[in-house]
């Protein structure tokens, strides 16, 4: 029993042993924060659904290195985002920018809520206009 517990505990401990190279460390904490934020907002193209911060595949490491270089060179977030979008498309950014192409993505949720609300109001109005003592069973047939 004791051995079993030891086995289970050590097995569970293994998962905490991830060693992902987080890449560059900046001396300036502000730059470090920018770097951390930027790499967590860029999609790893090789392992889509991970950010390049969380991924240790080679391309993610390359992109971290490039982003660190651009921060060093004093480029703005906008310029860094452009760099990525020109090469990999809007898909590379976890937060796509509002452009003509992605506008529908940003607007769709609001349009859907509007549409749903409109439909709800119509259904409720219709229900209210029905005679109260109408036989519910008949309602389906008469429509």
């Amino acid at each position: 029993m004791k051995r079993l517990i030891v086995l289970v505990v050590t097995t569970l401990l293994v998962s905490t042993a991830f060693a992902i190279d987080k890449g560059k460390k900046f001396d300036d904490p502000e730059m470090q924060a920018r770097y951390e934020r930027l790499i967590s907002e860029v999609r790893c193209l090789q392992c889509q659904n991970q950010s390049i911060k969380d991924s240790n595949v080679s391309l993610a490491a390359d992109l971290r290195r490039e982003i660190a270089r651009m921060i060093d060179e004093g480029q703005t977030d906008e310029e860094i985002a452009d760099f990525l979008v020109v090469r990999y498309g809007e898909f590379a950014l976890y937060r796509p920018r509002t452009t003509g192409k992605t506008l529908v993505l940003w607007l769709a949720p609001f349009l859907l809520v509007l549409f749903g609300g409109f439909a709800l109001v119509r259904v409720l109005r219709h229900r209210m206009s029905l005679p109260i003592d109408d036989d519910v069973a008949k309602e389906g047939q008469s429509e």
Partner: protein
């Protein structure tokens, strides 16, 4: 009956989108932002001779395939025989970008399996790969005589894809066969 019409239309519309999504093919294949754009400019030493550089100018003036490959890439091995076949029948000039690889291993690979490339650029640190928007080898770009990227294929090439996606895009000219 009328009350079912709108929900039905909505569901049908959703279904159309879902089916389109499923038929899209490889979900990893992203639309390349380079289609219709000039090929990204680069200058790299060749794999075979570090003293000699090749770059975007090397393949100007004719249709060219730019194939991103590496020895660690399993599917590159799968498509290699077909690249050799294309090279043997001189279908199109093929250039390689050896991506994040070891020079020695890459040279040994070409030695063992045959070399379909007029030349391979040696992109050791993946910097040029980033400029070309490469995210998974093998990737194959079709560049037209003006140096414009007209197609990109993700994954191994085969005769069917070659005929359907590449040959169809090359206007009678070039050396396309």
């Amino acid at each position: 009956m009328n009350r079912f019409v709108w929900p039905l239309i909505a569901v049908a519309g959703l279904l159309v989108f879902l089916v389109m999504g499923l038929r899209h093919g490889d979900p990893r294949a992203l639309p390349s932002p380079f289609i219709g754009e000039p090929a990204p400019v680069f200058e790299l030493p060749t794999l075979m001779n570090p003293e000699v550089n090749i770059g975007t100018n090397t393949f100007a003036g004719d249709y060219a395939l730019v194939n991103v490959w590496a020895t660690w890439c399993v599917m590159c091995r799968a498509e290699h025989p077909f690249l050799l076949e294309l090279a043997a029948r001189k279908a199109i000039p093929i250039y390689g970008i050896n991506w994040r690889d070891s020079r020695l291993e890459a040279m040994r690979w070409l030695d063992e399996l045959g070399d379909p490339y007029l030349a391979s650029a040696y992109d050791e640190d993946g910097r040029v790969g980033i400029d070309w928007g490469v995210y998974g080898a093998p990737e194959t770009f079709l560049v037209d005589p003006e140096g414009t990227v007209i197609y990109k294929h993700l994954g191994p090439l085969d005769p069917v894809i070659w005929q359907r996606e590449f040959v169809a895009r090359m206007s009678g000219g070039g050396q396309a066969k």
